[in-house]
Symmetry: C3
Subunit: 264 residues, 3 copies
């Protein structure tokens, strides 16, 4: 794993209004003044662990090896849920053991899970309500200075895992669901390029909410302005979009809605 200079990414549901994120950075830079800090998102809806987990998964492949990703969506702060480091071949994930880190670290990629117990790496006073500041930020900063993961506490391999919505396959049909609505109003599903392999790209049919779409487009710009289209997005996921408009608004399908693919 590359050792210098280190990057720490931050993903939280703190928003950017209250100064919480700035405080994390103050704590980190107080411990390691030369680390680079990158904001992944702080607009995860409060306590929406699944959304945080999906954003983290979408991003980590694009960071250099050795990046430390801190994620804090933590409704159980102050309870018995454990603070952990998850070590994979290419990254270190730091956050609460509530499933948030699990989607970005599928079982086969996890080398070690470290349960954070060594309070000398925390802030001197650990509150019951803000472990981002008191535990996760200082631990990430010490990691970025070269402290070994195993120095932070006992080592294991297990962690809480989120149950993601699954794609159901039958001979001529697959059924997935809407997992995210992005800033552009694009509707992101859990159906992947691999799921679609048995289907003819030009003639498959996508049913979602009130509409049925025939065939996949290759780009947003390949359909008329205002048209509803389906395509494989930059994550390799099936996405429903409206050219220069908002599919989320136009179709009114909330997260969790069904998406059905048939071969005609």
């Amino acid at each position: 794993m590359a050792s210098t200079p280190r990057i720490i990414s931050l993903l939280t549901d703190f928003g950017t209004q209250d100064g919480f994120v700035g405080i994390l950075k103050g704590v980190i830079l107080g411990i390691n003044p030369s680390v680079s800090i990158v904001d992944l998102s702080h607009e995860v809806q409060p306590q929406d662990i699944l959304m945080g987990a999906l954003i983290l998964r979408s991003a980590i492949a694009f960071f250099p090896p050795g990046t430390i990703h801190v994620a804090v969506v933590d409704p159980g702060v102050g309870s018995t849920r454990r603070p952990i480091i998850v070590e994979t071949a290419t990254a270190l994930l730091v956050g609460p053991d509530n499933g948030l880190l699990s989607v970005a670290a599928p079982p086969e990629s996890v080398q070690r899970v470290i349960y954070l117990t060594k309070s000398r790496y925390f802030l001197p006073h650990v509150s019951h309500t803000f472990h981002g500041r008191d535990i996760f930020a200082p631990v990430a900063a010490h990691l970025s200075r070269g402290v070994f993961p195993e120095d932070f506490g006992p080592v294991g391999t297990t962690m809480e895992r989120l149950a993601l919505p699954v794609v159901a396959h039958t001979p001529h049909q697959i059924t997935g669901s809407v997992i995210a609505l992005d800033r552009f109003g694009n509707i992101v599903t859990n159906i992947t390029a691999a799921d679609l392999l048995p289907f003819p790209m030009e003639s498959l049919s996508v049913s979602i909410g009130p509409v049925q779409i025939h065939g996949l487009a290759s780009t947003y710009a390949s359909v008329p302005v205002g048209a509803v289209t389906a395509l494989l997005n930059s994550w390799g996921m099936l996405e429903i979009a409206v050219r220069n408009g908002s599919a989320a608004q136009q179709l009114g399908v909330p997260r969790g809605s069904a998406v059905v693919i048939t071969d005609q």
Copy 2:
């Protein structure tokens, strides 16, 4: 005071849409390319000096000694209000002399106040409407390069101070007020842990808007989902919260609302 590498934090009411914050950073990096810049918040409501002052106070203890904090919530820009540096034992605060810096720098902590008059440290053209760009950013950048505070203008000790809402004490009751609603909908009051010392934690009563809460919780997670609870938050202030929900929305109490503590 630590001298290298320096951190400059930024707190404004500029929002993040219009490019104003990016411009501050361009100005700073043009003067000191190696400084680390941290955003504290740019979502202070326009002209809300009190909110800016409270966020600044909540944050500065978590930055390393020597950090330079630039704060710009400046409805009087272009008038006679003075631009200042406030020097404390651990930090340098830069901004307008309108009370914004005063809550983070209580009188006993202030070593010097410098009134910014040396225009050689400003941008060549100083507008009447954007001193963040033309005065505060370049002054902070020069400070971060080691220019002494006293080089920026005459030195004094006085500054404008905000009158914060006070907590009223009677033998069996204290009355404070709501000073902030955070991103999670938590209701932050001006009542501190010290104010509550005379009261029995388990049996005190908190009255706010339509509800009365008995006893303090220790964590958000220690009450049922949806329950209204009172606790000491990560700033050591009394806070009213709804587990996994928004107390602000549920109770409908705006900033300034009364909060009454009694011992039964």
Copy 3:
């Protein structure tokens, strides 16, 4: 052009919720770990090329020479629109050739336009939907490491240009239009200080929506709270403001509305 340390600024319509901006930064830091990255804005309304172009123009003069500005407002991603570098005397602009870069780079300032074709400077897999990540971020990062602009593809001088709304002049009157509403609700017009030279500052008349304003103010603070005022803003543009309030809200004039100046 200064060569080290480099700054890369980012301007997009990606918002800050979905992690897209963090991914750009991961890609950049993977190629050049020591570059400084500055966010200009990510809150451009989706596909609003004109707004992005105006923000870019307002900001670039305040960055040090040699800064690389990446701008991505790209409704035509995946179509035939070209990815380009625009080289001026003081900056390098990177983005889609759809007019977005043109307002910050008027014809007389453009030294060269490079059409990006050398895929060895792109990510290995270029998607049809996210060229910010796959082309513009890696190209900017390689530029920041010293790769010459001409190494990225064929060199020319032409690019798509936006048609900006023009100011119409008659002997005793000029007519401009609203080009932006900023975070404070200030109404920014396309009328410049130069346009106003023939008019007496104290007695000219500004008609916009339901109001007529007499004379220009010099600062926001020089009129009573709540009063509508006209002044030259920090960009040197005529602006209509309400002291400590929102002119946009109070006057209800959308972008594109007419603003008429007469000499009495």
